[in-house]
Symmetry: C2
Subunit: 348 residues, 2 copies
């Protein structure tokens, strides 16, 4: 019997639950609003009801490999506990994994949303296209998510909290970040930051085109802003060039530290890749001699340019979170997560 | 028969070659000057002559596990080739591993000096004391070396060039760095940088105590400067506080990205740990919520503070490079390095 998995993409706004088979891809998707106002137990019940429905409908045809859940972080592992997640207000200290397992009566694997997106991009996106099993992904959204995949597995670090490159310091005296620090990458290159920077420029009278956009549509998105830049608005173009510079400083830090073969930029703002890629790549080249030695086309390395450092936009789009949750059971078995827990208890 | 290994610590000034046994430690050390002026082939011959002598004297009593060589980087792996190493002028493109193997007629393992120091600190120093098998080490010397050990093994990255955290950007508009970038950690917290900053302060008339030190001893070291600070000189103290701030920004970047259980500061300048640790730790706490959640004493984590993030001075001193080269054959077999090479050729 062929196998299937169930993946859950828990977001601050939407909840998506899917059945997945490696040969067929996604078999069925359930889409619900995340009922944050009804409380976290109501959301857990919605998750479990959805999972049960998919189990009922697909367990006849396929055998279940496992259930993967992607959640906004910070997520402590192996405990599966959330710590003040900005996108799930009121969930601080919530033991998400234990709560779902108690409600469902079955084991599940939990993982932060940025990590599952990176896993999907590695296994099904640019990693697969290039034949690579390691990458670092930045997801530019409300904040900046980050996932690091080493040799096909999510790198968790000691407490499940690796991959917070959104809080790399770009300029120590830069704007305040929600994390309590100053000048974090997230304060320059998240969708939230880009809107803030655009509104500041408009309010200061330095960007008439952006001011007109904000006048027509006060809720304008970064996509609207990138359209304006594509139409030639110099102020909008400059904002994306600055996004590229900040991303370039952050990615150079990552290249210098990790020397991975692939760095991927995803999330909604990655649609503007063409607008910020030139300054991004110039900044990485300037700030990383590891990159200069290994960039595509360099013939310095004995192993040749085929082993070099690639920096690109994500291949997968908005589905990467759901797909990553679905493939989680295929890449990290429950046994492994239990093993981590056993080791942690022994050492405590 | 018990086993032994041979380790080589190749430096820009000194060459040290030792025989090592896990139960007894270092059995014998050969110390020579590195004859850079005589050319790289002369240095390779000195290395091989030393190794042969140790083989002759110790192969009767023990069986050889392998030969490890720590070298100034950047070192490309698996090729074992150097790329413009600042501390070995004229060695650009030199295939160090192949040259030694050809001269010696035996396989050797080559590794960058910062990586072998980190390995020694993990296996024989603070890692062993704490029962941890992962750490990130910064070695503050002429430059800033960096080695990352994940689960007992050196993390090489795609081309052997991981662990260049000395080139994390601390301030994008900071002082020029030898790597071609600006505001690198190395430009703030290496011994070279500290001397430069001290001399600048003295020359500007802002630091009479340092000016007096430089007048008495133009070749003063960072140890002389830390003595001055310990004696209460406010200007010297401020320099070490600033070193701590720069290290704190860099280590916060590493904590946020890697979430390792241990970060270690070594090298000669680490003797001044007491002078720069307070600002270092304050800066990491400010810039890393991962650290705030996991710092020793925090009870936020389910797994408890015993699983938290530790930042400390290295336990091993100047011998870590030689010890690391000696234990290299015990942690990474030649077979593994050959395996990497085979995979690289297949993919090229």
């Amino acid at each position: 019997m062929s196998s299937f998995s169930i993946g859950v993409d828990l977001g601050g706004t939407n909840l998506r639950i899917a059945a997945y088979n490696r040969a067929s891809g996604i078999l069925e998707t359930i889409l619900l609003p995340t009922r944050l106002a009804a409380g976290r137990h109501a959301v857990v019940e919605d998750i479990c009801t959805g999972i049960r429905g998919l189990l009922e409908r697909w367990s006849g045809e396929y055998s279940l490999t496992g259930i993967g859940i992607g959640t906004p972080g910070p997520l402590e592992l192996p405990a599966g506990r959330l710590h003040s997640p900005p996108n799930l207000p009121g969930w601080d200290g919530f033991g998400l994994r234990n709560e779902i397992e108690a409600c469902l009566g079955m084991p599940v694997i939990v993982e932060s949303d940025a990590n599952v997106a990176a896993l999907a991009e590695c296994v099904l996106g640019s990693g697969r296209s290039l034949g690579l099993d390691s990458l670092c992904m930045l997801t530019l959204g409300t904040g900046i998510g980050n996932g690091i995949i080493l040799e096909g597995k999510v790198w968790h670090g000691a407490n499940g909290m690796a991959g917070e490159a959104g809080h790399l310091t770009i300029d120590p005296d830069g704007p305040a970040c929600g994390c309590g620090s100053y000048g974090c990458l997230e304060a320059y290159a998240s969708a939230t930051a880009v809107r803030r920077i655009a509104l500041e420029a408009a309010a200061a009278g330095r960007a008439p085109g952006i001011a007109a956009l904000a006048g027509r549509n006060p809720e304008f998105t970064t996509l609207d802003l990138s359209d304006l830049a594509e139409q030639g608005d110099a102020d909008a173009k400059r904002i994306f060039e600055d996004v590229g510079r900040a991303l370039g400083i952050g990615i150079a830090d990552l290249v210098n530290t990790l020397n991975l073969p692939l760095y991927v930029v995803g999330g909604g703002l990655a649609n503007a890749w063409r607008l910020f890629a030139p300054t991004l790549l110039a900044e990485v080249r300037r700030r990383s001699y590891v990159y200069r030695l290994t960039e595509p086309g360099s013939s310095v390395l004995d192993s040749g340019a085929s082993e070099g450092t690639r920096i690109m936009a994500a291949e997968l789009g908005a589905d990467s979170g759901l797909l990553g949750a679905c493939i989680l059971p295929y890449t990290m078995s429950k046994t492994k997560q239990d093993g981590l827990e056993a080791r942690s208890s022994r050492r405590a």
